[in-house]
């Protein structure tokens, strides 16, 4: 109980820091430019994941299902046949991508940079953004009102993840640059997982190398895998990515993708092939 109450309690120092940022949140030429630029990479990551996992036959009666061969039809079938299968698959995917069908939860939404971007995707039906700072929620609310296309798609709430209804489940849950700000990340992560629908996704990101190490160590090591006693707070026990993958396999989740990204002056944020260093994006999918 005690842990639960404190788990997302953001430290006072963190909070005042956020408040001072709120005013300049949407000035893309100001101090938040780097965050706005980082949002581009996050959106690319989220978009690519969602696009490559479109289910075109879910909930479709058998006789109307699109034929998706489980093997590489381009190698096996005559050209025109393979092509027509592919055309039909592409058509259905495009249809699904333009049908507003996904509900999203943006945990730690801040001024709404990611929430707004999610809301503009044609496949997204609604976005709920939650944050613990009244100031940034106000910034977010004011800003979404400026764009008639998204005003009604987003709903910002001043609440912690624990205050969400237990049965609230979403197709997409995002938790960007959030875990490293909370005092008990493991619980926050577990709580976030509870709000992901079956087949839905949880997207995470963290800030830098040390924090990646910290996250893998403390979050998965101490609290989730319990391979070290809670409270050990040691940086010396790393868990390699295979172990994380194994852990996720044992939960109802699997790691769909993990990518590093890094800031290159003059180019902005780019993906790297090193998900174990620097900034880090991860997509988990609930399997059951």
């Amino acid at each position: 109980m005690f842990l639960r109450r404190l788990s997302t309690a953001i430290s006072e120092a963190e909070k005042s820091h956020f408040n001072s940022l709120a005013a300049s949140w949407w000035d893309t030429t100001g101090p938040q430019r780097i965050l706005h630029k980082m949002n581009l990479v996050r959106m690319d990551f989220i978009n690519e994941t969602l696009r490559s996992h479109v289910k075109i036959n879910a909930g479709v009666p058998d006789e109307q299902k699109t034929f998706v061969p489980g093997w590489n039809h381009h190698n096996v079938l005559p050209g025109p046949v393979a092509e027509s299968i592919q055309t039909e698959i592409n058509r259905r995917i495009a249809q699904e991508l333009s049908r507003p069908r996904l509900s999203c939860l943006d945990i730690g939404c801040g001024g709404g940079i990611l929430s707004e971007s999610l809301a503009r995707l044609p496949m997204v039906a609604s976005v709920r953004g939650i944050d613990l700072s009244p100031e940034v929620i106000r910034v977010a609310d004011r800003h979404k009102a400026l764009d008639p296309a998204i005003t009604d798609k987003i709903d910002y709430q001043l609440k912690s993840i624990e205050q969400l209804d237990k049965d609230d489940q979403y197709d997409v849950v995002t938790m960007m640059e959030m875990l490293e700000h909370v005092e008990y990340p493991a619980l926050v992560l577990q709580t976030a997982m509870q709000h992901v629908k079956k087949d839905g996704f949880l997207f995470l990101s963290t800030i830098n190398r040390d924090l990646v190490s910290w996250l893998t160590t403390i979050v998965f090591g101490e609290y989730v895998l319990r391979i070290v006693p809670v409270g050990t707070h040691t940086y010396s026990k790393y868990i390699d990515r295979r172990e994380i993958a194994e852990f996720v396999d044992e939960t109802q989740f699997r790691v769909v993708d993990a990518r590093g990204c890094t800031y290159v002056p003059l180019r902005g944020w780019v993906f790297t092939s090193l998900p174990d260093t620097g900034n880090y994006l991860m997509a988990l999918q609930r399997m059951e």
Partner: protein, 453 residues
Amino acid sequence: MSLRFLSTARAQLADIVIIGGGPAGLTLAAAVKNSPVLSSLNCKLVEGGNLIGPLNSFSQNPPSNFTNRVVSLTPSTISYLSDIGVWKHIKEDRVESYDNIVAWDGVSGAQIDFNGPSLATMCETTNLQSALLARIEELNEETGIMDNIKVENITSDETNGWPVLQLSSGESLKTRLLVGCDGYNSPVRKFAQIESRGWSYNRWGIVATLRFKNGEFRYPTGWQRFLPSGPVALLPLPDNWTSLVWSTKPEYADILLKLDDDAFLAMVNAAVKLPVEELEFLYNQAHEDPENLVGEITWRLNVFNDKLSPQEMEKYPLELDTIVAKSRAKFPLKMSHADTYVEDRVALVGDAAHTTHPLAGQGLNMGQADVKSLVAVLEKAMERGLDIGTKLALEPYFSERYPANHVLLGVVDKLHKIYSTDIAPIVMARSFGVNVLNTVPFVKDYMVSRMGE
């Protein structure tokens, strides 16, 4: 106050408003409608002039003569127009492709090795515009084109900063993104307070539609002679027709435009052959004694032609003997470049962002490359869920196009300057060719210092 509030409140909302139905604006409208990612956007185009009527009548009853605004399209422009489904609507019997360009120095006579396009295609601007309109109509009956409507005023909405356009029809439009395809005097550029820098060339471009005398067969060829007063170019159209682009000093332009059709035709024949001193004499005569001009030129050309061997004859264009009545027009030539192409809620495309000397036939093609880049940038921004009107979303368009356009504007500008002088060392140097000039630093430095003024 309350009235203004009311009119803003009644403004129609749009995602993209394009001002200008020139080649750039229509291409952008077609490309947006053609894009699977952008086609769902509410996109409008406002054109001050009469656009749809004349373009439809061109496509239904094409005039028998070629119109006088003809542009040279590069292969990349054509391949983009094909990609977005426009080229199939072009009346191909009215365009001419050519890969042979003969360019020579009017003072030294040296041939210039032009790094021109491998293949260029001459096309009437109206042909291009009517193909664009046909494509837009094919994609969507609701074209979103409003013509005969001028944008009279542009303000920013007080709450969200979106541009609000007051139209001459009394309506107003409020838009997420305003794209200025509104030509050199771009009202959009002024609204966004973007500086445009450059200079007038103090030259006019005279255009006309002419025809070579029937007889000898020639492969379609572009002819361009660099005179100190500016280049004169004859660019091929089908069936021995040709499009004239003659850049010249204002005082010469005045004289040339006052001549009757026959005298003008004679002056063009003279300008592609006779020495510069003789041409100066002829301008004088054209001014003071235009009645005897045709006779004078005929005599001088006969003397000139008699000295040419058959091989030498091939280095010059055939004689012109027909001009389409009223096809003569003049345009001021200037080089200009906007400091930026994007601001919050605003993008500039085509001549609104840059103008260049027509000697390399690049102006419209640069605008096409702008459109291609902007559309790709908007698609990417949509996929990332960005507000496409924000500077953050538009910045990549500027960083992609500005450097490329800047280089081209510079090269064309240098070419103009190098060839508009008759100072002996420069003439000598340039008869080695532009490329030599560029690779020999001291010659180049000398030229640059001479042309510093």
